[in-house]
Amino acid sequence: MGRRPYDAVVIGSGAGGGPCAYGLSVRGRRVLLLEAGPRYDPYKDYHLHEDDWEIRGFPDRERGVYTFGEGQPLREDLGRLRSRNRAHGLFNPSPRRRYLRYFNVKGVGGSTLRYQGEAHRLHPKAFRIKSIYGVGNDWPIGYGDLLPYYKTAERVIGVAGPDADPYHPGRVPLPLPPHRLSYASRIVEKACARMGLRLIPNRVAILSRGYDGRPSCNYCNGCSYGCPIKDKGSIDVTFIPKAEATGRCRVVEGAHVFRLDVRKGRVREVLYYDREGKERAARARVFVVACGAVETPRLLLNSGIANSSGQVGKNFMETLLWHSTALHPMRLDSYRGIPIDSEVLDYLFPGAGLPFASGFRLFATSGVALGPVNFALMYLRGWGKGFQREMERSFGHTLSVGGIGEFLPNRDTFVEIDDKVKDRYGIPVARIHAFLGENEIRLLEFMSTKCREILEASGADEIVEEISSYDLFAATHVFGTCRMGKDPGTSVVDPSCRSHDIPNLFIADASVFPSSGGGSPPSLTISAIGLRVAEYISREVLI
């Protein structure tokens, strides 16, 4: 790569950083991509070929450290919204909301290494919920501004799904046809039809045919265990190899950036610890932070920069989730297929007359117990021969549906620095505070009712598990801690994702979302933002 200085340093190689590095390098820019985590080799590191794959899980080599604030007090009258399970009872018997985990991955490719491959454009209305419903925030950009980047992301990743989608006017065909619905989802489809709902095939970054040198999916359903055949379009097998193939993008794994150094109003260099724990610095003309909605504000706050608005870390939004699993009298083997193969969009930004603002999305899912180990541990009590008989009778009978809804920002939900807890380099970690507001509770009530109704209409017998954001924080989608906006007093970056305070600093990850998208999976939008930032930097900054 020679000794010429880099045009840009991109920090974080996930859904936002990877595409941003790609966008810069294909435009002839020299990029240094610094990633805190390791590089995983899908052919060697993942465990889905092994008998104990369920016990091994995703082979996280390193997990981020963060802490949580106080749990929200729970209301006695909302017992029906609590997470419970047939074998273990209430997941959280305490009177306060419990923080379980912020699910993310440290590694080249970021959290997409574990994501379930849902790849959605946001609904055009998602950008304007304040104007439409009077809640949350509008985005300073619209669907049209992201459209060309959505198309590029869909092409590079290889998104499969239906062409005709009534909720996205003027849609162009996706690169790949949709996947067939699983046997279990076809039962849910019929139930939805009886209820007047339309279950349609999902749009996913999972190949329905061989594409771009990658094979088609073989429906093992193990996306979140790490896809070992590369049909899932995680960033490490799509954008990053293409960026590296330009010869202009250097990826450094195990590089923990801990400070951005600002002199005379511009970022001069980033400081990081390398894999051996040695402190290093890197310089460039432009710096892009893409560490995700928890680590990006942590880095900026620890660096004491880009926060003249006081908004860094504020407006945090989490995943508002409901998930119900029942046993069906028929054997379905719903663990076969892809994790979320179909969805109902009828409540995504609906008209007036419903008890909540904004909206949510329902989906048919293979659930979380994808094999015998988890099934046994999650749904059965006891031991001995009776246990084994019950297992033989009920394994393969689960049917699951879920919903994810809009999470509106509120004052009590934010990320800050926890000075008392440090990571292994002695750097203070992020502390997450998350509280649900009234709209979230109304959405959960509505989603839970619909999920239960769908399961009943599907002919399922007994609900064996319900997982709810009401009493558990277990977020996979997080957003909003450095939101974009036109007003430097109320936002951290401008509509091009450039810091209002520092002209050579950009943010290209989920932190910039002003609203959470009504329950749509965010990764494709994050990637589109990453590509848009790259184009803007190339066109307007690196001239």
Partner: protein, 162 residues
């Protein structure tokens, strides 16, 4: 049939520098650890011993000092209760008696070490038991997920046109 041995315990613990946790063989009060460990696994999942599940579950608990301590305290509690109640070690009890010991452990208050031990060991035994392809056959589970995948995902289980 594969049997758990004292040497095996010593090897696993030695590798972790935890050999001192293993009660000495000369101590008359020391529990017949190997036989009880097997018998407990077998009571939790009949057939576990033949599949080597007892060893894998114990090895999981002996991986870290905290869980190794829970393991030995729990086994000691099991041994004591069996002797106090039936006058014999756990592994020589009748099936009905073993069942009563398991129910006793499962119903103890949460903070009792025997209950914690039982919850962990039960979990480990069940988990490893259901990783065994021999057991999958009985469940008609055609795993692991790779390399074959489940290409029949759109059909009713076991084939057919759906």
């Amino acid at each position: 049939m594969k049997r758990l041995t004292r040497r095996w315990f010593l090897k696993v613990l030695g590798a972790l520098g935890l050999s001192s946790l293993l009660p000495g063989p000369s101590n008359a009060a020391s529990p017949p650890l190997t036989r009880d460990t097997e018998a407990l696994a077998e009571a939790i999942m009949p057939g576990a011993k033949d599949l080597g599940v007892d060893e894998r579950a114990a090895a999981l608990m002996l991986k870290r000092p905290e869980t190794a301590r829970i393991f030995f305290s729990g086994m000691r509690g099991l041994e004591r209760y069996s002797r106090d109640r039936y006058g014999r070690p756990f592994h020589s009890l009748e099936e009905r008696e073993r069942e009563a010991v398991l129910r006793w452990m499962a119903s103890l208050p949460r903070e009792r070490i025997e209950r914690l031990f039982f919850a962990r060991y039960r979990r480990a035994v069940i988990a490893y038991y259901y990783t065994c392809p021999e057991v999958w056959k009985r469940l008609k589970y055609n795993g692991p997920p790779q390399p074959k995948g489940f290409m029949d995902y759109h059909l009713p289980p076991g084939g057919g046109s759906g």
